[in-house]
């Protein structure tokens, strides 16, 4: 009896910025799943497509690298998967090497290194449209003959641009079916190339290119023109600041309409359920627990998407590397690596991917410093808290003749104070504990490219899915727990206060209140901070639930922001904002730090440090506000 063979597996390998992910998207469309590799936190992207001849093919997108000589944990994954060393990952049946056709001199060295492995290999000359525009003529038949591997031109961003690759994959599958595919558990032999080997590869690339380049391209002249402005010490930094400022303004302005729509929809749903369900515990659970709780988190989806839209566009356009270049020296002033910019910017979305992105920093001291301040970059989970309090307390006025909105300005100030305190903490750490030389900066500045709607959309889709999944699972479960704690035990007969005061939640809030009274927090806030440990944005949901349970009648009708505006003083609101700039309570951040640094001491130190900073900042803010206002 013959064993049924699984789908053939392809691995996409290439330098950073070669358009590998665009090619992956072109092959698989939305049939992809993003997960982590077992045991490590490197993102694993796998997709599925059906070849023209009707074979189902699995394809994985490996992290970009210049050599199998891995320099970071990301690149180690690429090396180990390609060599069949990775536990739980079978040796791929073939490698598709994705090369930027406009930069072959730099890309082909890795092809030679991969060829030595003796794997089936296909060279995809990507971005052929751009190469043609530059007047670059490549004799791909000659290139194929010299390299001894099939060469196909691709334009990942164009419809039908991967047809030649698909046909080649079919031809390879025919051969593989005749000869048998790589057996499960096979490994490849490889030794780390010396500088001598690398020079040999380089010379061989030059020899091959001298035969295969028919007409040399004109170079990326447009990129050079743009860089004259964007990398200029003065205009470049000004533009970078403007971009960041616009990003935070847009998070407010663009997201306002969809957020209002979600709010209205939730209101309508609550109203309808109020009519449809009989009074009782079930109705309270659905309306006050689930919809008030989960709904108050889901409403922030538009803002998170706007933030990720900016990050994705900056990444895809090639600007992110410029930002790292512009900031390297300034960040060096506090002892950070220019490459720390990318983890830190990602931390504005969420500290967890940010801390994982710090893996590209190889030096441990540099990396620890970056990781320790990553949580000080205001993550999107804190946006709900900021938005809520700003909506409740900051009047929606415009300044400078309508150009700058006051809420946006306050938001910018909150982000700025996070960044400044992060830089201060880094400076202190680097001058006392983590002394030593910085890791070298060696980074390609890729040509500017217009981000493609499809790639950006697929990236945003992944984020939205992750956020909603979280809202539907973790946050949903927490909300049910909070609702339970807020409703049991039931108030005694003849109780005069709102029911929640007699519940477990009320007791817990009261118990914590003395601890946070000096910084102006009431028992509702104290209570909200507890489940906020699991996910910061839950704090808003909890406030939503608590106030939904403790208010009644008219107050319930108005939004949570309205309720808070009436029940908190301004000093309390400012104090909570200051607390959230540092917001130490996030279990996923602490656990990822533990995993990434393989240490319990650093996350413990991080928790103590951030709590002390948060408490201190909130205390000072509260007292100052009380005195001055």
């Amino acid at each position: 009896m013959s064993r049924r063979r699984a789908e053939p597996r392809l691995a996409l390998v290439g330098n950073p910025n070669c358009g590998k992910t665009a090619l992956f998207n072109a092959l698989t469309g939305s049939r992809q799943k993003v997960a982590n590799y077992a045991g490590v936190t490197v993102e694993r992207k796998e997709g599925l497509f059906v070849s023209p001849a009707g074979t189902r093919v699995k394809v994985i997108d490996l992290p970009g690298t210049y050599s199998l000589r891995a320099r970071s944990p990301d690149e180690e994954v690429t090396r180990d998967v390609v060599l069949g060393r990775f536990e739980g990952e079978d040796l791929p049946d073939a490698i598709v090497f994705v090369a930027d056709a406009t930069n072959l001199r730099q890309n082909l060295r890795l092809v030679l290194e991969l060829k030595r492995l003796g794997h089936p290999l296909i060279l995809a000359l990507n971005m052929m449209d751009e190469a043609e525009k530059m007047g670059l003529g490549v004799d791909s038949a000659r290139l194929s003959a010299e390299l001894g591997v099939p060469v196909v031109p691709t334009i990942a961003v164009q419809a039908g641009g991967v047809q030649a690759l698909l046909d080649q994959i079919d031809r390879d599958i025919l051969v593989a079916n005749a000869e048998g595919m790589a057996p499960s558990g096979a490994v490849c032999h490889w030794h780390e190339p010396s500088s001598h080997d690398l020079r040999d590869y380089h010379r061989e690339v030059l020899r091959i290119l001298s035969l295969c380049i028919l007409t040399p391209g004109r170079g990326h002249s447009r990129t050079r023109t743009i860089d004259r402005v964007l990398l200029h010490p003065l205009t470049g930094l000004l533009i970078l600041l403007t971009v960041l400022f616009l990003m935070f303004q847009a998070v407010f302005a663009w997201a306002a309409a969809p957020m209002e729509a979600i709010d209205l929809a939730l209101g309508a749903l609550t109203g309808w359920l109020d009519q449809a369900l009989p009074d009782g515990l079930a109705k309270s659970l659905v309306n006050d627990g689930i919809i008030a709780g989960v709904g108050s988190v889901v409403i922030f989806l538009p803002q998170i998407l706007v933030l990720f839209l900016f990050i994705q566009v900056l990444e895809d356009s090639g600007y992110m590397a410029r930002a790292a270049f512009l900031l390297d020296r300034l960040m060096g002033g506090v002892g950070l690596h220019g490459r720390a910019f990318i983890p830190l910017l990602s931390s504005f979305a969420c500290a967890v991917p940010g801390i994982m992105a710090a893996r590209t920093i190889e030096n441990r001291a540099d990396r620890i410093a970056t990781i320790m301040i990553a949580p000080l970059m205001t993550c999107s989970a804190r946006l709900p808290v900021y938005t809520l309090i700003i909506a409740a307390f900051v009047p929606d006025r415009t300044l400078v003749g309508g150009w700058i909105g006051l809420p946006g300005l306050v938001m910018f100030a909150l982000y700025a104070s996070g960044i400044l305190s992060g830089l201060l903490v880094a400076l202190v750490m680097k001058s006392f504990w983590l002394k030593g030389a910085r890791e070298p900066l060696l980074m390609e500045l890729p040509a500017y490219r217009l981000p493609r709607v499809r790639n950006v959309a697929l990236g945003l889709f992944d984020r939205a899915k992750a956020f909603l999944t979280r809202a539907g699972t973790t946050i949903f479960a927490l909300m049910v727990v909070v609702w339970f704690l807020g409703n049991f035990p039931a108030p005694p007969d003849g109780a005069t206060e709102p029911a929640i005061r007699y519940s477990i939640a009320g007791a817990l809030g009261y118990a914590l209140e003395p601890l946070v009274a000096p910084i102006g927090f009431n028992w509702q806030i104290a209570l909200a901070l507890v489940p906020g440990m699991a996910a910061r944005e839950v704090a808003v949901g909890v406030l939503g639930t608590i106030y939904a349970l403790s208010e009644s009648g008219d107050a319930l009708q108005s939004s949570l922001a309205g309720v808070l505006g009436q029940s908190w003083g301004l000093p309390t609101a400012l104090s909570l904002l200051a607390w959230y700039v540092f917001a130490p309570q996030c279990l996923s951040t602490l656990s990822v730090v533990r995993r990434e640094l393989n240490s319990r001491a650093w996350p413990a130190l991080m928790f103590v440090l951030l709590t002390a900073l948060a408490y201190g900042a909130a205390f000072v803010t509260y007292r100052l506000a009380q005195t001055l206002l």
């Binding site: 000589r69 190339p193 380089h202």
Partner: protein, 93 residues
């Protein structure tokens, strides 16, 4: 005419062009193991025969630098650029 001078890439200013004649990482203080910086430089295309042009300088201290290496652009700090020995083009006297 005089032969082009050999200097390190770390000392070039904006707009200067040169050709790589050798790599020498001794004397560069770095967190890397011996031989690692050299290999990384080669992997970024900074290898004997490559044609360079300093395109941009960072701020402050004119560091790091963005260097055109044949067809692509690489950003690096002057400290590590010191390991790249280059020959300046011949100049008419």
């Amino acid at each position: 005419m005089v032969e082009g001078l050999t200097v390190s890439l770390g000392r070039l200013g904006k707009g200067q062009k040169a050709e790589v004649v050798g790599l020498d990482e001794l004397g560069v203080v770095s967190t890397l193991q011996a031989g690692e910086l050299e290999r990384r430089l080669i992997e970024m295309g900074l290898v004997e025969g490559a044609h360079l042009e300093v395109l941009h300088e960072g701020f402050p201290g004119r560091d790091p630098i963005a260097v055109r290496v044949d067809d692509h652009t690489v950003a690096l700090r002057r400290a590590e650029a010191a390991a790249v020995l280059v020959r300046l083009p011949k100049v008419a006297v």
